[in-house]
Every structure is written in C-alpha cells, then in structure tokens.
Symmetry: D3
Subunit: 284 residues, 6 copies
C-alpha cells in the first residue's frame, strides 16, 4: 500500500488512543468464529501485532472447542456433557491438551510470527502459569483456577514477545486439567494487572431482549450483569464470559468488554474509539 494523504490522516487520528494505552496490558480472550475462519483469523491476529507495535502489551488466551470435537470424532470418542460441561476422562483430557497446546496454540503462534510479531505459546503447565484443582469428581479432569503465576508473562512481555495461552491448567500433582478459557482470561487479566479485558464472541454484545437488536446494552454495571444472569437474560456460553469480566474487575482491571470478534477489526474498533463497541461491563 502507498499511503495517500487521506489515509495518512486516518493513521494520525489513532494517536489519542495509542497514547491512552501506551505501555498498558490488554488481555484478549480469542475464540469463536474469529478463530475458525482463516481470513478472519489472520485479520484478528494482524490487529494484535499492530497493538504490540504501537506500544501496548497484548496477551492472548484461547480455547478450541470445534477442533477438540473433530479430534474426538477421529479417535472414535463420543463427547458426554453434564450440565453443559464436558465430562473429561483421562483419554479425553489427553486429546484436549494435544489439540489446544499442540495444534491450536502453535497455529496462532505461527500466524503471529509470520505477520512479523514475536509470539510464544504457553499452556498453564509452562512455568506453572495456571494452577487449578478438580471441580467435581463426576466431571473428571475439569478444573477451576486456584492460582496464577504471572512472572513468565512479565519476562516475555519485557522482551517484546506476545504470550499466547491455551486453556490447560496444571493440577496439584502435575496432572492436566481442562479449564474454561473465559475464566482463565479473567483470572490472568486480574493477576497481571491488565488495563483492559476483551472477550471475543460471535454476537454483538449483551441484549436486554436477545430478539430485539435495538436493546443492546452498551454499558453494564457489575451488579446489573449479575442481575441479568439471575433473571436468565444472560445465559449459556455468555455466563462464563460475564463471570470472567467480573473476576477481572474485582482484580482491579479498569474496563472489560464483550465484543463481536467476527466483525472485521473488532479489536481495533473497540480500542480506537471513544464509545467502544459491544458491551462494556464496569465496576460501579
């Protein structure tokens, strides 16, 4: 591309936002279709490389739903669920870990590095980044976060690397535990003192009435969000996303956002605008 004066002007208009987030850490939960569609994937990751080069410290957290199911199918295992949570026996856990840490994670790392960034992939086992404990014996190797050891993230960020974290945790005896990636993103944002948490989903945000696009809530207080979970207006996959935002807010993160990762340049549009996009959940 050869910049015209008009295009250069657009560049310059980003300056106030760049200044605002210079040197700040932004945790991004990367998931949904933005992680499946190849063009979209490259677009989101290029946005993140840009954030790094304009002085921010982006940290990516990802899960990997569909790829896990494919792999399960290939080895002939049938997924079972209890109350929406995947029952994770030892064999399943092994597949989950191989897919998340060996395929999805390294795929993201490779794209970022090809785009000129410097990514390093981590699972929760590396440097004991994410410690967890078993949630419920009936669910098997499903865990909930007990502790984050963020030193490795500081080490990498100080040297200009972008950490890419897969949602596998280490249990008390070194075993692998399958932990919800949304929850991990919230816990890491809190532990690292992030300025912003961005949760990428496939929908525009949180609605008062999901069938009425005009009822999008641009801003929600923590209390309102909890109320909407109680009342069922926030349900299913949106619940852990909202919980992650609340964990982050309780840990001192300034702003948390649920945005539509399938919109081209959603991440940039959220950061480089005054009003933001999607739904912002804030403390008070």
């Amino acid at each position: 591309m050869n910049y015209t004066s008009e295009q250069a002007n657009i560049l310059v208009q980003a300056l106030p936002y760049i200044q605002q987030y210079y040197g700040k850490t932004i945790v991004i939960k990367y998931g949904g279709n933005a992680m499946i569609d190849d063009a979209l994937k490259a677009s989101v990751l290029r946005d993140i490389v840009l954030l790094r080069f304009v002085g921010m410290n982006p940290i990516l957290v990802h899960g990997g739903g569909p790829e896990i199911n494919q792999m399960m199918k290939r080895v002939g295992k049938e997924p079972t669920f209890i109350g929406g949570l995947r029952v994770t026996d030892e064999e399943t856990m092994e597949i989950v870990e191989m897919v998340l840490a060996g395929k999805t994670n390294k795929g993201i790392v490779s794209i970022i590095n090809t785009l000129g960034g410097q990514a390093v992939g981590l699972s929760g086992k590396d440097a004991k980044l994410i410690e967890a404990e078993q949630k419920d014996a009936a669910l098997g190797f499903v865990g909930s976060v007990t502790n984050i050891n963020p030193e490795i993230l500081h080490t990498l960020a100080n040297q200009g690397y972008i950490p890419v974290i897969s949602s596998v945790a280490i249990g008390p005896n070194g075993e692998s535990l399958n932990v919800n990636a949304d929850h991990i993103a919230g816990a890491i944002a809190a532990a690292i003192g992030a300025t912003k948490l961005l949760m990428l989903t496939d929908v525009t945000g949180i609605f008062e009435d999901k069938d009425d696009p005009s009822t999008l809530k641009s801003v929600l207080s923590k209390e309102e969000a909890l109320g909407m979970i109680k009342s069922g207006k926030i349900d299913k996959g949106m619940i852990p996303k909202v919980e992650a935002c609340i964990t982050a807010l309780d840990g001192g993160v300034e702003r948390t956002h649920i945005i539509n990762g399938t919109l081209p340049h959603a991440v940039l549009m959220e950061i480089f605008t005054d009003t933001g996009i999607g739904t912002m959940i804030e403390s008070s």
Copy 2:
C-alpha cells in the same frame, strides 16, 4: 473519531512500515512553509508524535529564516548578504540565537507537548551538541560544523523524549555561531547513526528540468547529485539540502530524502509507502 472497519483496515496496512522502522532513528530537517503555516505546522508535528508512539526515534532539526528577518526589521537592522550567506555581526547573531533558540524552538516544543509528545528543545550549545568554527571572517559569526557530541540525544531518546534542535552552534570560545540548518541535520544524522534523513522543503523534489514537472528524479545516486550541482541543475537553497544528504550517506545513513513538507502528511507518506515521495538520494 470512532474507527470504522474500513478505517481500521488502513491502520493495519501501516504495519509493515512500522515494523521496518521500529526502534530506528529518523532525522527530520523541518523548515520552509511547513514551519510557517499554523495548520500545516500542527499537522507535521502530529505526524512526528505518531512516529514516536509507533516505536521510531524522530529527531527534529530546524532553522528559522522568516522569523529572523522579521525580528531584524523590528530592531531596525538591515540584513546584508555575501554570496547568498547572511553577514552575521555580533548583534545579528544575538537576534538569530534569540529567535531560533528562544522562539522557534520553544514554539515547536510546545506544540509537540500539547499533542501528547514529550519534546525537549536544544541548541548546539546544550551539552556542546554542535561544535563549529568560523567559516570566513568576512561573514562574521557564520560557522561550519566541526564536531557533534550526540550523547545528549541518546540520553533523551532512551527516555522517550523527542529532541528538537535549533541551528545554533558553539564556537571554540563558547561563542554562538550561525550554521546552516540543513548542514546540521546531515551532520547529526551521520553522528547518531540514523536510518533515514528527511529534508522538508517547499518543492516536490529534484527535477531534471525545473520547468517540467514530469522530470522529477525519484532516485538519485550521490554521484548524479554531485553532477547536477556542478551543472547547475541543482542550485540555490537546494544545494545545502543535497550536501546534507551526502554528509549523511557518507556517515552511514541508509536513505536520505528531499520531500515537499507542504503536502499534508508528507512525512508519513514518505515512510509509509514502498515507493516513497520526492527524491531519494542514495549512496551507490
């Protein structure tokens, strides 16, 4: 501004250029109308603040022709010239220094700081940055550069400051010397190991035939440039600009450019394009 997806896309297209110049030093000779017209001034300086925030180290060098003449007139002094060079008696030198270091320099610094940058103004006397000697007794306090002490520039750049340098040098006995700002820009680019030198002027570049806009030379070798000075195709105010480029090239600067600073976002257009704008003078 609230970024649309298309505008965010323009941002992202800057990525390869940002990567290319990340951590690199770019010396910019700032002058001509780009320094006089207020809107243009703000525009150029905002571009420079942007360069800093996307990871480059811009260093500004400026002269201040018209403002000096105005001040001369106000105190009732008539400018005299020998061979195109201003005869600089002690009283003139005092005015030159006051205008350059006290008015022009601090004006630029103030605008940059208001735009969110962190500028520090320097004259060649500060930390003995620019040492010079008298050129010709007949010209009085007119000097040519003998030595650059770039340490203060490293100190400031390492802390994120943008140095803004006025074209006054320090003589062997601490006296002020009036040195051509183009020459200073070239000497500083060489001494600091800059990657790029940008000379802002009021014309598009160097032409084979100044009356025929279609004869713009996009690229000139050092030898070709010297030939065009000899043949008179490069003349007057363009000569010190070309000399500055050659000083820089001889000192190891990779690329030097003469561009039209009155074009909106000329600096960005030069850096954020493959083909560049104006005339590039290169070593071989």
Copy 3:
C-alpha cells in the same frame, strides 16, 4: 596554578562539607548583578561546576530582568506595570521568552560548558517542566505555577548534566507564561526533593532594620519571615524570594538561604561553612 602545601590544606578542609552534601541536590536561583557582571558571572558558574565535580547535583533557575528591558527598548515597547508586576501582552511575552530562553539561558549554558561542565538549558515548556495558569487577565501572559514535572531533571542529573532553567512556563493550551523566577526556583526545589535552596540577590540578607547592617538576621523561622512580610520589614523584590523559601520548606527542602551573589564565591562560602552566610529561613 601549582598548589603549595598550604593551599592543598585549604582544599582538604572542604572535605566535611563535600561529604555532607555528596549526592544531594541544590537548587540555585541565579539572578541580580551576579548574572550581569561578566567576571562575577564566570566566577559564580565556575563555583557551580565545582559543586558538580565534588558530587553534588546543582540545578540553576534564572530570570533575566535587565536584558528584557533592553530588548523591549530596542523594539520600541514601553514596559507597563500594575502593582509591581509587568503587564505582559503577547508581543511582550514573545520578547520575554526570546530573551530568557534564547539569550540568557544559552549564555549561561555556554559558559558552564566552556568551564568544563555539562549544562543543558531548559525552559518550562521542555518536557512540560513547568506548568502554569494565568494569574490575572489584566496582567496578560503572567502566570503562577500549577505543576512541576521533574522527570527531565532526574534524567539529566543522572547522566551528569547541570540543568539550567529559564523562567518561562507552559500554559494549559501550550501558550507561554511569564512566571516569577523566584517562585519557580521554590517550586522546583520542592518538587525535586532538594536538600538546599540558595536564592542569590544583591544584598547581604534580611535585616531587622535595613539601615542598620548590624541587624542582619542569620536565621529566621518561617513564621518570623511571614511576620516580617506582614509588618513590611520584608518588602518589594525580597517578598517573592522569601515566598520561594517557604514553598521549598513546605515541600520538604531542609534549608533555604538568601545570600549576596555579588560576593565572590558566595555559593561556596554558604555551602562550605558551618555558620553559612546571609539569612537562612528554616521550617520550625
């Protein structure tokens, strides 16, 4: 000079004072005749270079009264005063800034550097060192300090530079404001955590009875000083000097002194003696 044993002995006697102030910051308000008479000027600045080489961090703040008036006269402007304060219209402000930041400041810097020191001149605009707001619309561009950003002073001092600061501040919109240099010295001493503030004047100190030299007050408490302002015993140009001392004391500076800068080596005599010279104003 070739030191005799007796002279070396005098050197050695300075040791306890050098030890006492080793690594400490000393803010010096430089002004009055010590800034006008050339021999005196060189003498004061050589003393300051010495302070730096024996391990202290001197910071100079200067105004520039007489030079401003001369320049005003040269451009045919008549100074106007309201209640002792210079009415500063835009044209006057421009002259004030040119003289202070372009002439006086660079002159001091040049002498220090010629004496083997490493000075860097700053105005309040550089790195937004001194932020101010308009004092009174009737006075025009006259300001009072609202904030000091001392980071640039730390950056320079850590690298061995002596900062020399002219009394021009930056207003909320980047405009220049004329601020009393005494007040700036006090505010900077407070902001940087100086150990000592020295105010150079043309008189011996503060007297109970100005007509009776035997009534010099060697030490004054803050309360006594305020009382003497109220009673009129401290008046005119001495008032801002005493106010500067009080600002510094309130900001945690240990000792503040009003001394006669026209005495040869007054600065050294104040620092290298147990009893000091002039008048010391202290907190309790």
Copy 4:
C-alpha cells in the same frame, strides 16, 4: 532423607564438577526409553533439575517416536517410510505436532515443574526458534534446519527457566515441518554456544564391533566418527546422533557425548566424573 556424614561426603565430592560447569549451558537430547519408562523419566528429569540448581543451564530437546505411532494408529493412519524417513503428509504432520508439542512436551514440562524446577515448553514455532525448509517433496512435511533464533533461550535461561524444546520447526510460510530431533539438538547447541551436548540413547555408546562390548570407543575424533559412518560401523539411528555431535563441534561446542539414558543417573554420571561414560566425540 536425612543425610549421614558419609552421604554428605558424597555430596561434597561433586564440588569440582559443579565448579567446572558453573554457569555453563548443557544441551541434552532426551529420547529413547528414558522418555518412555515413567520411573526412568522422573529420574532423568530430577537429574536435570539438580543441574539447574547447582548453577548450570540445561536445555532439553526431545522427539517422541512411539507416542506418534500410537496416535497414528488411533486415528487409523498407516505410517509410510522412504529410506528410513517417515513420509509426512499434512494430516500426519498435524498429528506429529499435536503429540510432540501438545503431549510429550507438556508432559516433560509438568514433571520438571512438579519436581521444583521451572520449565517452559517451546516448539520451533515459538519466537521462530527453529526455522527449516522442506527436505524432499516426496517426503512431504519433513524439514532440515536453516536457522536457529536463540534469543528466547537466553531470555528464559536468564530468568532461571529450563527450556524444553519439541522437534517441530517453522517453514518459510509458517507451516509446520517435522525435523529430526537429534539434528535440532546439535543445531541448538551450536547456536547457543553450549559447553556440552549430551545425546541420550538406549545403548552404551559407539562400538568398534557392536557384538563385542569390550570394543566400546570412549573417545572418537570427528574424523574417526565420519570414517565409521562411511564404513557402516555407525549405522541407522546412531547416524543422526553422530551428525548432531559434529554440527555442535563445528559450531564451537567443547564436548559432545553419546550416552545410555536408561542407566539410572546417566546424565549426572557423565558430568560428575573425570572419565565420563559412553562415547565422547571431540573436534580434533
């Protein structure tokens, strides 16, 4: 354990070896049965944690043969070989990467961290650690090393982490390439300036006559080793191990060793003895 005086004595005897390798980097190719048998695995990795705590910088490189074959079988893929090299189509490559980077690597990391070490797992994609190119179109995604970017290893080692590297490389377009782990160990030892390279295998070392245990070669020159490859005395899986040693020696590594990783504490016995175990290949 409660140390007796005799046991403490054994500890103390290690001192000369600890001193010899203090602060030195030791690259260990971990493989064979030492990576399969659980007790042996824990034992080898505990030895490596010990090396770190007594001041050395161990770096592990691993492949993962048997686990790849198991996974291939589970998804119903039949391994094909050309000239002893696994034909690696895209699907196979995906499985190889998942197993190596997602299972084997994280398993090793987890054990080290449970033993009190601080391991971080890397594949050749992370920070573009291992760049490779396709070896032969007929073999598909099989690569040979073209470049090592060792900066991430320095970053991690400086902070006390033990890097654990799986043998997957990044191709020119970001694709995954399957590279022989022995070759990677040799290339990394050379690139990082290791002091020692240890290749763990299942046999005692290199023999003049494989059927006669008394013909073990304790020391081989590079030339002798090349001769034994030519003459067929070194064959099959031993060839890439010897090639790795030669790459390391050519890159300046002081000593390279082929040792039997199934011997308990083989790593310690090699380092903490004057004569060493297995076969040492040296430069001249």
Copy 5:
C-alpha cells in the same frame, strides 16, 4: 571421584533442601575444634563452598581463642580474666586484632579460595561493618555491638563472594574493640536478614542434664532457652551462643541452630535433613 549410580542418587536426594535454601543467606559462626584441627577445617570450609555453589549465600563469622593465647604467650603476656571476660589492654587488643584479622581470617580465606570458592576477609573495621562501644572500663578494649552496616556484605554476596568476618569491631573513635564472636554472628544474621544461623561448637547441643546424653533438646523455644540460662542449665560458653540465637530470632531470622562442628559435615547434615541435628532455638 567417578560417580556411580548409587552415589549420584545420593546427590539427587539433596534436591529438596537445595531448593528450600536457594538464594537464602546462612550465617555460620565458625569456631571451636572445627577451626583448629586441619582436616576438620578443610572439611567444614569445603561444605561451605558447596553451599555457595548450590545457590545459597553463606557468611562466616569467626573468633580465634587458642591462637590468641599462643601469641600472648610468645610475647610474654599473661591473660587476665574478670568474670570470664578477657581483660584487654591496648597491647592485648593489638595482638588480638593481629591474630584474628591477620592470621585466622586470612587462613580461612586462603583455604576457601584454594577449594575453588571466592572468599573475602573482613574485620568489623572494613566499611565500618561492626560498630561497638566499650562494655566496661575495667575490661579495657572489650566492646558490645551498637550497629551493623551490612551494605558491604550485600556488595560482596551479589558478586558471588563468601564474606569471612573476624570478631574485631570499630569503636566511636576508630579504635579496635574485642567483641564476642557469637554476639557478632547473631547481630549480623539479624542485620542482613538471614534465613538461618548456625553456631558451631564442640558439643552435640543443649541438654536438659549435661551428664545424660539422652536428654538432648532438639527444639527449644526462646522462652525455654532463657529459662535454662536463669536456672543455670545453660552456662559458661553456651550462654553467648544462646544469646546470639535470640538476637537473631528477634531480628527476624527464621531458624537458629547450635550444632557440633566437630562432626564431619555437620553443616551439611543440619541443612540437608528434615529433622536437623543439634538444638534448634525458635521464636515462639
């Protein structure tokens, strides 16, 4: 020594203890027969070099009783004691200092350095490490600690040196003072924030009944220890050892131990065991 697998196993068993004390400071009061018998001396000091190489920061404090008496005899001076304390006139103090700082200290330093460690000997005069005041005019130059300046210990430890400290302090006028080495060890452990204090003696520990070896107290609380001093069960040379432990505990040291330095590898046995040896005195 060439390690066998069994011996390597003993090495590995030290790992948990090495991990526990990695980077921690351990002050060791070195004295008694462990300082007289040559073989024992080498053995204790080799243990200490080992501690340094496995990541701990050992600091040695020593006195030198018997060597002082020998030297006294050689110059024909008769030791006098008041209440168990050596009356120290000026001549005696001179001999004490020469022996401690010139002979004993340098002897220990030399052995450590010959064993591959990096020791630096200090007396309390160096960098004013140990400040003291006269205890009792009747005793002459006998002092008690008033202040520790531990900066020199940090400087040396950060560079890998083992500080070896002789029990001579500096008085208010620079004079030498003879201070009990046990007390110095306790004061230094407190000032430097040690993790552990080891007092080496010639007996197994503290006994409820000194004539009944079965009554060894493995653990004593500070209160119990004070009680045993009061009741006379702890007496003579054991008193200052216990007082040193209490000083250390009051200064925040975690664990203090009185152990038998004549046991081979007593230091290692205390550190590399769960139960420890000798008597541990702890805070609560």
Copy 6:
C-alpha cells in the same frame, strides 16, 4: 573552618585538575615515614579521602617494614637478610602477615573510615587478588607476582569503597608469600588500567647526584631510568620503586611518579599541579 572568599578561590583553582582525573583510577604506594608519623598519616589519608569525593578512584597499596621488625623483636626472632632481602621462614611469614594484614592494614582502614571515607582492607589472599610464586628457596616464603585478579577491586570501586591492599600474596597451594609492596603496586596499577601510579617515599625524587639537591630529575624516560639503575645512580630501596613504575608503564599506565610522602599534602600537590613534584617516569 569557615571559608573566606580567598580560600574558596583556592578551591576553585583545583577544578581543572579535578576534571582531568574525574573517574580515573590512581594507585598509591603508601609507605615510609608517611605511614609511621601519626599526624602525617592522618594527613595523607585525608588527602586520599578527598580524591575519592572529588570523583577519582584511589587504590592504596602498603607494606609495613618497621612494625614487622618490632614484632619480630617482641617474639625474640632475629631478622636475617640475603642480598638485602629478608629471609622469611614460616614463623617469620606468619608474623609478617599478622602485622601487615591484621595491624597495619586495619589501622589504615580505620583512619580512612573515621575521616568519612569507606575503606575495605584486602590482602592478596582475598579473592586471590595477588597470586605469586616462590622467588628463591633460600629466601623461604618470599614471592614474586605471577598474576593479579582485579575483579574485587572493580566491585569495591563501583560501590564507592577505597581498597587498601597489604603486600601479602597467595602461593600456588594457598600459602602466604611475602612480596615487595612496590612491585605489587606496579602490578596492580598495570592490571587495573590505572591512569597514574604514585610511589610515596622519604626523599624528594631521583637525583643525578644524590648529594646535590639541584640535580633532581623532574622527568625520566623508562630508558634513562634503566640506565641509572645500571650505573648505580639509582640504588637500594629506590630500585623496586623504579621497577614498579616500569611495570606500570609497560601495562599501559599513563604516568608514574616517585614523590616525597613526608611533605604535607604531597599527593594533592602532585595531582593538583601542572608541573607535578618529585620525579615522573614516563614511557618514551
């Protein structure tokens, strides 16, 4: 002392010399009467503390002749000499070391620290600073320098300490060796890259004719000095002093001086004068 203006003037005249040696290392061989007479001792050491506070890095090397002889006498040992060198049996070596490292060294350290400096005493055993080998079996424990390990001097100087070094070296087996202090001073000046070496003696310098004070040689080339040794004009105790200067010059030291340490402030007079005092020996 309260400085008068005249005395302050003397201070300021030192500035050019302070600037010239700022940050430079000056090795001073301290000996002769300047080390015996108490008033002179305090005076010399105060001069050295001053050097440190005005930015130089002084390093002291001392021997201790008379105190050794006194101690020998006290223990009833008769000194024996072969060719002017003290025959040093084991018992003598022990006394030499005790006196030098335990008495003389700590005495100097104590005075410096009382004067406000920060001295640390070292013998050649500390950090193996001075390695030596036996000179001649007939002389016993007399050594000549084989190697200097200057790291400990850098460590101490970087933290502001003044190293004070006694002339005892460490032999190949850790034994003490008595080495000429002049030679040590020369070897250390060479190894540390000193700018200046000052040898303090009891005479004015080197004379063409020792009986004629008017024949003082202010400057000698290395060749001339060697010639005067050959011809016997330089003899006895002056020989090792001149040899030390030559060792230093060969090691790159710029200037070496033999001066009269009994002159009050001889050290300062040598450094703070253009012409120097005593005899300078220079390379060419």
